[in-house]
């Protein structure tokens, strides 16, 4: 079974939106942090243009708001270590997995279904 090598967990948060343009990325990260603070096992999948969340060198937004890079750096403190990134999206944007601001495991589309199946709750942002 495919799903046996997928990471199991309580919550999978799929982050499909890039930083700054909308608050979806921040809202999804907030949900992940709260779940982790409640002791749940949380996995994150950065998908589509959401992989830009992991791009290094981000700055402040249009009126100086801080964005999400600082929040991402706190994930380890919340024991959120299951980070996955959509390999197809990285390829499409020509971003290198080893040049991201955090270490995240590239996964191809064939593994996404197994990841979704292996988590009790899945939230897409």
């Amino acid at each position: 079974m495919e799903s046996q090598d997928a990471p199991r967990g309580d919550l999978l948060v799929i982050l499909r939106h890039p930083p700054h343009g909308t608050s979806w990325l921040r809202d999804g990260l907030d949900a992940a942090l709260v779940a982790a603070a409640f002791g749940q096992s949380v996995s994150l999948l950065f998908q589509g243009d959401g992989v830009l969340a992991l791009h290094p060198g981000q700055g402040s937004g249009a009126l100086g708001q801080k964005g999400t890079a600082a929040t991402l750096e706190m994930l380890g403190m919340y024991d959120i270590e299951a980070l996955f990134v959509d390999a197809d999206a990285l390829a499409r944007l020509e971003l290198a997995a080893d040049a991201l601001m955090l270490s995240a495991e590239p996964v191809d589309a064939t593994r996404t279904a197994a990841m979704i199946a292996a988590h009790r709750l899945v939230l897409v942002f």
Partner: protein, 130 residues
């Protein structure tokens, strides 16, 4: 079964709220329990007590209140999403030194932790996004 909904769309501009209400009514009509609706992101605007839509349009905040009155469904509003968008109950208005309030019971301001609780305690959590 025990259901909960997550609503993330602003009323009137997106169909998400309408879809969620229609689904909510069908859930209870099929004999399930709808414990809670959690409003997040722009979904918190569903709680605006001053909403005054034209007569020939559905009154979404009132429709949610009716769901609460008839079926006891809790109407939970993410406090962090709500405050920045100007949805304050009397207590929060006082705390922020503002006169007046824009949200009142049965809508309740609450933390995001409640959403995580619902995900655990309910058999199904169905999301309606914009």
């Amino acid at each position: 079964m025990r259901y909960a909904l997550l609503v993330q769309g602003a009323p009137y501009s997106q169909q998400a709220s309408h879809s969620a209400l229609r689904f909510a009514r069908a859930v209870v009509a099929r004999g399930h329990t709808l414990s809670s609706v959690f409003f997040y992101h722009d979904g918190v605007y569903n709680a605006a007590r001053l909403a005054a839509p034209p007569q020939d349009e559905p009154h979404l905040p009132d429709a949610w209140c009716e769901l609460h009155a008839q079926h006891g469904t809790m109407l939970l509003v993410c406090i962090a999403s709500a405050l920045r968008r100007g949805l304050l109950d009397e207590r929060e208005a006082a705390r922020h030194g503002k006169s007046g309030h824009s949200l009142e019971p049965p809508f309740e301001l609450t933390g995001l932790g409640q959403l995580i609780d619902l995900g655990q305690a309910c058999d199904r959590l169905v999301t309606f996004s914009p």
